[in-house]
């Protein structure tokens, strides 16, 4: 993937995480437990995408 593509994916991922966290703050305590667990899954997946991008870029930078 190019640096531009990486950047776009990272931006989209962070935007989604911010959106997810905003949802969290809105009515968080009243969300069903199952939905809260799904949100944690989503946040973890997004975080892993960001980590993969970071490591990929470090690898390219070293090369």
């Amino acid at each position: 993937m190019t640096n531009d593509a990486d950047r776009q994916l990272a931006t989209a991922t962070v935007a989604r995480m911010v959106e997810t966290k905003a949802l969290w703050r809105g009515d968080q305590a009243r969300l069903p437990v199952a939905r809260k667990l799904e949100i944690l899954d989503e946040l973890k997946t997004d975080w892993e995408v960001l980590q993969a991008l970071r490591h990929g870029r470090e690898g390219r930078d070293k090369a």
Binding site: K36, I39, L40
Partner: protein
């Protein structure tokens, strides 16, 4: 692979007799009661009997690892053993407070027909007070904001475990009025 599946698998360890008393703690337990912060692992408080002893005092997870491997969970990362995609860290009871937390833990339904044991909100607050990092204080904020903490139970724990000073520090740092003040 989802967090609900991971919690289901942990509950099944108890059902299969692989572990005895247990309770989810820290971030995931806080999520079950109220709001949450992102977390990448599942912490499970376990009675010491679930661990193997080495040289008298060192606790190992040998039996637990073998039982988990037999269920197909043998991959590890630096956070813990991977159960349904989530690293799970098993933490032995290390204090009277931990013991009380396990005694008082409650069952929370995470999916139809699936319940896990979790620390109560009040125990999560006192654990966070003891550790006292910024993210622990933030966890207290979220539990208090979620209105899931019983002030009387929290006061009893703070008095019982000598945490009045830590509570006072938290109120100062957070800028919150002391909800436990007479």
């Amino acid at each position: 692979m989802a967090l609900a599946d991971s919690l289901r698998a942990i509950a099944s360890l108890k059902d299969r007799g692989i572990i005895g008393r247990y309770a989810t703690t820290r971030a995931v337990a806080a999520v079950l009661h109220s709001a949450a912060v992102m977390t990448r692992d599942v912490d499970v408080l376990l009675e010491v009997a679930a661990f193997d002893r080495f040289a008298g005092s060192l606790l190992l997870t040998t039996r637990l690892d073998a039982a988990l491997a037999a269920l197909g969970y043998s991959e590890r990362d630096r956070e813990g053993i991977i159960v349904e995609g989530w690293p799970v860290r098993f933490i032995p009871v290390a204090s009277d407070l931990d013991e009380a937390a396990l005694d008082d833990s409650i069952s929370v339904e995470v999916a139809p027909g699936v319940a896990v044991q979790a620390l109560t909100p009040e125990h999560l607050v006192v654990k966070a007070l003891l550790i006292g990092r910024t993210k622990d204080f933030e966890r207290i904020d979220r539990l208090l904001d979620g209105c899931v903490v019983d002030p009387d139970r929290l006061r009893e724990l703070i008095v019982r475990f000598g945490l009045a000073r830590a509570w006072s520090d938290y109120c100062t740092v957070s800028g919150r009025p002391d909800m436990l003040a007479p």
